[in-house]
């Protein structure tokens, strides 16, 4: 049946076809090169750029300049004009010596990941790179980007080292490694591109992405009673008075009424029942798959961590005793991140090449 083409392609089939072939061919070629580079380079914690990991190739501008050199050569040859020929040769030799310059504008640079921030799945995680110079060499216009991201340019010409802040996509929960890092330079004239794809062995914890899970089921202190009727979180507490605001406290319970009246910043205290313990409990969410449960647990955890009441967390085979404070919150989040992390699917090579799953 010849009319199986959809209307869009039917309108201008030639253009569409050519377009798709061109992009497809180029993209496939690039992917192939990078896959090869990925296989070739073992992961390391730091890299010194040198002959072994740097690639170099003329850019479009370089090829265009080559064309100009050829035209100038034709001009000089046809007019028997030695000076025009000399200029053509000069331009060609500038292009050739740029190979060395561009290579030297990356060679010797040491790159390591100095900081990787933990975060929630789907967020951008801060990733700081440390670039250290070799000797007094200056590195102009070093562009850095993680696969699939936009580049950031930096010039390393002062002090021992410079720091660059980039970010990576937290593609999933668990322990992830950053995708490939591309370091490139077109210094000085943009005629050549020198680049390296680096695979770092540093990894970072990614917490589950919080998903709205509704009210927290109150579990009685007496676990045997089985009373698991869900109670509103706020219902678990009674208002008992005010205390003045301390730095770092949640703004949730600030008495804005007092603040608006100019009486100062006060926080409402809620008296919880001494015998009632709050638990972020794996078993409270039956019938869901692991990741969905973790996402909801994470949501509860964040809500509880915002409050001032101690809370604990129960995961299969792991219990974190009730407590309050930032480090407790972090412990819980990390427990969620690490929970059965080894059973997660490992990151595909596509992730390393494209920055997404």
């Amino acid at each position: 049946m010849p009319s199986s083409l959809n209307p869009a392609t039917k309108k201008n089939p030639v253009l569409q076809k050519r377009d798709s072939i061109k992009t497809g061919w180029l993209a496939a070629w690039r992917r192939r090169v990078r896959r090869w580079a990925l296989k070739r380079r073992p992961a390391q914690s730091s890299f010194v750029l040198d002959r072994n990991n740097l690639f170099i190739f003329p850019t479009g501008a370089g090829f265009a300049l080559l064309l100009v050199v050829f035209l100038m050569w034709l001009l000089g040859t046809n007019y028997d004009n030695n000076l025009v020929l000399a200029l053509a040769f000069l331009l060609a030799s500038i292009l050739i010596s740029c190979i060395l310059h561009t290579h030297a504008s990356l060679a010797g640079l040491k790159i390591e990941v100095s900081k990787l921030q933990e975060g929630f799945a789907g967020d951008e995680l801060g990733a700081e790179l440390r670039l250290s110079r070799q000797g007094k060499r200056k590195y102009h216009d070093v562009r850095l980007f993680w696969a699939g991201q936009y580049p950031k340019a930096v010039t390393v010409d002062q002090g021992d080292a410079s720091y660059v802040s980039l970010s990576i996509n937290a593609v999933r929960r668990g322990i992830i490694e950053p995708p490939l890092l591309c370091v490139e330079s077109r210094y000085p004239l943009g005629l050549l591109r020198c680049w390296a794809w680096l695979k770092f062995d540093t990894s970072v914890l990614v917490y589950p992405k919080p998903v709205e899970a509704g009210p927290l089921p109150a579990t009685a202190s007496d676990e045997g009673s089985g009373d698991s009727e869900p109670v509103l979180l706020d219902g678990a507490e009674d208002f008992s008075g005010f205390h003045s605001y301390r730095d770092g406290e949640s703004l949730k319970h600030v008495s804005w009424k007092h603040y608006a009246q100019g009486k100062g910043m006060f926080v409402k205290d809620f008296q919880s029942y001494a015998d009632e313990q709050l638990w972020v409990d794996w078993d409270a969410l039956p019938g869901m798959d692991r990741e969905a449960r973790l996402q909801r647990l994470c949501d509860w955890l964040l809500i509880l961590a915002d409050g001032s009441q101690p809370f604990g967390m129960r995961l299969p085979g792991q219990t974190i005793a009730p407590a309050t404070g930032m480090s407790h919150r972090l412990n819980c989040l990390r427990a969620l991140a690490k929970f059965e992390a080894n059973q997660l699917a490992s990151l595909s090579s596509n992730y390393y090449l494209e920055g997404k799953l």
């Binding site: 028997d80 004009n81 025009v84 500038i94 562009r143 943009g190």
Partner: protein, 682 residues
Amino acid sequence: MSLIYQIPRPALWWLLIAQAVVILPLMQYLPLWLLVVWAVSVGWRIQVVRGVYGAPKAIVKVPLALSMVAALVLSYGNLFALEPLVALLLLAFCLKLLELRSQRDVLLLLLLGFFVASTQLLFSTSIVAFLYALVSFASLLSALMALYSATTNNSFGPHFKQSLLLILQAIPLALVLFFVMPRIGSLWTVPLSSNTGKTGFSNSMEPGNISQLNKDYSPAFRVDFAEKKAPPQRSLYWRGLSLSGFDGRRWVLPAHERNDLVRYRRLALNQRNQKRHDWQEDFKNYQSKDRSRFIDYQVMMEASFQPWLFTLVTASVKEKDVLATKDYLFLSKRPLSQRSLYRARSYPDYKRQSESLGDGERYLNTLLPADSNPKAKAMAKEWRQRGYSDRQIINSSLELFNRDFTYSLQNAALNEQDPVDDFLFSRKRGYCEHFASAFTVLMRAADIPARVVLGYQGGQWNKDEKYLLVTQADAHAWAEVWLPNEGWTRVDPTAAVAPERIELGFRAYLEQASTAIEQYGFSDLRQSPLLAKLQLQLDAINYSWHSWILSYDQDQQMVFFQKVLGGREHWRVVAVLMGASTFMLALLALWLWWRGRPEAPAAELVPWLELEKKLAAGGWIREPGETPQQFTSRVSKQRPDLEALLERYTKMAYTLLYIPIGSDQHQQLLKDLAGLRNSIRL
């Protein structure tokens, strides 16, 4: 993953600067209104950048571009000559400014700029023009650098400095390519420059047109004598062309010789048909005689846009596409639109006795317009009636000049109708062309065949480089008369008036001229000796430039290959090209490495680093952030036997680092540390 496509602001400024630098020299050769087009484009672009105007739309741009092209066609007549083509290129270079949207547009503009900057050298091949082209390349490279530098740097200095450095570093390799890269001749014929006869004289002479050349010190040609020694000034008459036609005022080529190409073809036809004149035979015989004295020389002639070659009297030139005329003058097939080189051999003692004068020629060379210059004619006729011989008539007119006439540049316009009468009987002062013209008229009136010869007289000898420089200021006109049994003989009436001019050469004559001369109008022409010397030195540089760089062609390259490479086989050329290029690049790489080499650690730190190295060999590596003491104590825990040694070593290393001590103690400490280090056995 795509890069930022905006145009960085410094790149735009650099682009405008580079454009100005590229365009300026071309304005000498192209219509000036192109400068206005550029200025308007720049203004518009700046307003767009400032956000005052929007970018011009196609409805504005297309008619604008088309009308500019039409204006070019109108001002040149046709588009297929060099100037209009370059102008067209320049137009595109200017108008593209209106259409700058992305980095890619700027790149295109800059690449076009490289090409436009090199077209400047089609018009002028001086060193200055080449250096200027290098500067324009540097500014274009700066713009390119600014375009691709992502970390914004608003200062202009570093980019330009860096570009100059890049050019300097590229020069060795460019030289290798220049000399070794095989040359091939023109691939197709190209439109040549349409500017003809801007310098030098044209194919006619009328009062005033040689004297105006005398302010022009630009070189006409340079002569390299085989003997590296110039003949005396008075014999340096560089003959160019002879003028037999006269209309009472203007000396011109006779009608049948006026079209150079037709004349050349006729000569070529004669030669092909083996139609030899007896004078040619005679000269040939003379050349083959052993005792004939000759002068060999090589003339490097500037572009004159005329077909004549200049030689000393009775020369033979054997070059392709050059033929001798009956007057022993030389005609090239095409006008010399470029600097060209020819070899010549002159026989100064050759007597052109056998030269016969046909009736037609006699008629042509004694012809005077009937209605002009009656007084001059009457005077010559009177001499003849007195029974003077030809020689006597020549001498009496030269005596007349010597007695009553003055050599001067101040030539007020002569009478339109009878300029020779006006000169001979009322003004009595003038320049070489007046004397040559008047003398020839007198001779013709006395029925002696005579004609005017145009050329150069004299020249300046460059002592350092040993060549003769002939400038436009040396342009000269003299006469030749035909005498029975002697043939055409040179007579220079100027020599009768101002013999120093001929003995010394024009410039030296001016330098020698005392205040007495100044009243004759030479004062503004005279240069200070210092300036003249400087000019001569400059010309010597120019000469080496020409003989080394500009005239390096296929033939010279072959000689170079033979001399330097010992052969001209392909493999030699390729090998040398690769070898020399690699060597040049290796030097550059070495320099780059040297500039960024790892720094040696401070001398005080060395003992500690040595210890670290030693311990690392044993498997202990200091963690980053671990102090030396922490590190050594960690090692000591595993190797208690080393504890005392390590502790002492660390302490001494610290002393060396932080406590100021005399150099003796310093040496002692270093020695102790080395000893201690050796006693550590892992």
